[in-house]
Point group: D3
Chain length 195, copies 6
């Protein structure tokens, strides 16, 4: 499959096919609003819920997505997630969103995977260079870009490949990374100090 594609026009839809595919288990009641309480003593697959009688409309809404986060970081992009951690009513519903902002001239949402979701991406503004199987978006133009991603899980998870490989804690034996990535061990060690 030819995997490279330039998106030239404003507001074009791009499907960024994920490295991973899964679907959340189906709900067993109308809703099951998550309790996002770090002091909660009971943990289950997904989230423990609050009493349905106490659910309110606010449990299903989120405002502020009109403003993106700043992109003045090392990769030139930022992600504003809207999943079960932000909208507790998404618990058991199997869907979530994210806003992604890309700096002009090279903003990059670096190669990553969502272990529990497929993804579809709408470019709201600007132009993005994407590749399907290796999952990233790159802004090659002189103006910023914005996209909305929809994901098929209440909590898709994310593993940024470079961080997972070179920035894991505890760190991976440099012999492993040197062999896997065909890099001198000194470069591996230098990378491990940067991530």
């Amino acid at each position: 499959m030819e995997g490279l594609h330039f998106l030239r026009a404003l507001f074009i839809l791009a499907l960024a096919s994920s490295l991973a595919y899964a679907s959340d288990p189906s709900p067993l009641q109308d809703f099951c609003v998550a309790i996002n309480d770090p002091n909660d003593a009971v943990f289950v697959n997904g989230k423990v819920c609050k009493d349905a009688k106490l659910a309110t409309a606010d449990d299903f809404f989120f405002s502020g997505l009109n403003i993106g986060k700043i992109t003045s970081n090392s990769v030139g992009s930022s992600v504003t997630p809207v999943n079960v951690a932000q909208i507790s009513g998404l618990n058991t519903l199997g869907i979530s969103l994210a806003r992604i902002d890309y700096a002009a001239n090279g903003g990059l949402n670096p190669p990553h995977t969502h272990p529990r979701a497929t993804e579809i991406l709408v470019v709201l503004e600007g132009t993005l260079y994407v590749v399907g199987l290796v999952h990233f978006q790159f802004n090659p133009r002189k103006r910023k870009a914005v996209a909305i991603a929809a994901l098929s899980s209440q909590d898709p998870g994310v593993i940024i490949i470079a961080n997972a490989v070179f920035g894991s804690d505890p760190s991976i034996n440099p012999d492993v990374l040197s062999k896997a990535f065909k890099l001198d061990k000194s470069i591996v060690k230098s990378l491990q100090s940067k991530f």
Copy 2:
């Protein structure tokens, strides 16, 4: 649950919890691009696929979502779906999108349900009046509104309640609808002639 909520600011996120919940079966290969050929002789759960060796990047992209459809119809809204019928690469991936345009001063995406998906909705422009359990969006303001909906199925389906009830073909016995909706039989017959 208090189910009514006004969305006042530009670009606010609204979750429109669906009347129905389901998740598509998981994929069994990297991709399985649908053949949307009406002459195809074989039908299965989902879509028959093309030979994976013939898949191209274009099977995963859709352009033109920057322009909405006109809303000068009886309800004052229009839906531009982006599901497996528009992006054949969505087959087996369990996700899809739609753009919805609402006319100013009362544009309505009328009460409906998606029998095979949950839904999450981003308001891109304008203000919408929504109710969670009875699933619709209404634009009460003097400027148009635009939203993107993401749905947890490659083919969510849609049943517009008023059409299904009063506009079914063959038509439903008016005695049934008169009793169910507490309407005079003459009103039921009049409605059946309109839908």
Copy 3:
């Protein structure tokens, strides 16, 4: 698809295809008998279970389905559900039942949907007029009718369309319903007072 069908003989099977399709998540143990205790402090997707060592045969049985409920109400029908609320042992098993009684001369189980189940219906007694996609049963004959419905969820849920649309609390803006159902706003307001 031609959707209307008269069932003339005693004890005929009718499939009432649901508006919604889903399947419960699979069980992860032999059984997980629900605790139906309103004072229970923990809520999860489905039901919290009792200690398996305390399960008894009675957790899996229900008696009294030989007697239907009275049908002298506004629609002339009554439903006796047998789901996880009645048989706590059904928790995690993905199936349930209901007995439906229909008054003679127009008993109606009004248009509705089960958001988490498909349904199959056996007519035990009498004759029913059904339509597949818009989901209801109507008894046009001079004798009462009885049916057993089986549903593919431990808790299928039910949304009676007329009630959800005209009887929601808080009530839906009459402008919305007037436009969606092509009814005068005065009729909408009158209906909202009846439901």
Copy 4:
């Protein structure tokens, strides 16, 4: 768990918890009516479907369940299945039924398992002796009994244990069965000749 229970009254509900639990994959379209054509050349998980435009109401109905099959056989019971083989519209819907007739004075639906379904059982007539985990029904009374079983699959499958063990073709080495069932090899050979 105490697993034995006598059902004494007419029309009592009994849950016969299955030895196996599963749920069919979710549908990906409104319906997908199976082609039950033995000459069809394409086989898939489930059933190949006919063109949706050719579906009719008859694809979703089955009549004649008011009459049971005769029970004058070695076990004194008969099963009338109503699954995807009888109602082709059940394909992808994840549910099916069966009528079971039990002769008076010992009619037995022998120990069996449904590898792809859970089951719930309504006793329409008579009295049945059932055990949950080992899945059978036995009629100890002087009048016949009738039950309707609902199963959570379009094609639940059935493995009658005694037949599978002693009547498999090719037959199982008698040493295996002698050791497993603590029976003399001569008895095993005699049983193998009977099944």
Copy 5:
């Protein structure tokens, strides 16, 4: 399908297709390490988890599978399970293992079913006589045999058919077993005393 097959060489792979098929619900987080505490007061579908911050590498490891259990019992085989009860980190991951040891000259893993899993079997040592649909393994040779089974559930469950039928507690009415297995009632009673 011809179901008998001799495995002659060392280290051959045999698929023992299970009597039952299911798949565990998908996980909703990176991991959810089970609390295997008999005093825990909350029970759910699957297992309640410990706080993710307290998970350690040991929660995902098991050692000692290099040594099998002794096989000097009535069937001449032993099973060493490695499922969520042994590796608490397997909770929500949908997979498990077992080591099976077979005595020389007739070691038998007797006919059984796993109600929540499919199974694939690797013969590490020796020769096994297996049948697919009726699920057992038998060692007909003069040297011991060893196999590793992988199962598609965190807790596959097991029902040993002979024990479930003849050794249930409370015991099944001998009339039932006599009729189902075509055995004299005296033999049935004798078997019930042995199991």
Copy 6:
């Protein structure tokens, strides 16, 4: 979670938790043996099956796993997969295996992910250095190592991270990889020529 662990003893079990989690859709019949015919004209989610009447025991067996592949390649490891491509009877059953051989003194199964499966790993011989979240195995010892992996899909798929990132065809823009991996563009280009 502390993610590093040395496995010191022969025949120790290691769980290598995958980067991705999914479960195959459930089967809808006893078996559905895949047709692995490259000339077959019909493609579906999973595999088209052969006529069940033509299935044989050989469709469920695979021999030769006692011999590993040679490991004299750039990473010093080799994988012998046993999935639906090798055992066509695995179609719809949701499980598969692989044998992995590791050369002495640094044999490495490089960082990778299985987009459709969780994995559990048995070390048959030798010692392996593994990390859970970043999924690889490394043999630091002077003798070779052998493992059997079981995976919860009939076709787990594999994405070797270094190959996907630096060896994709068409190649990824070096600006992207330079920024993502914090490597000089000249090193990125050099890596792209090696993979």
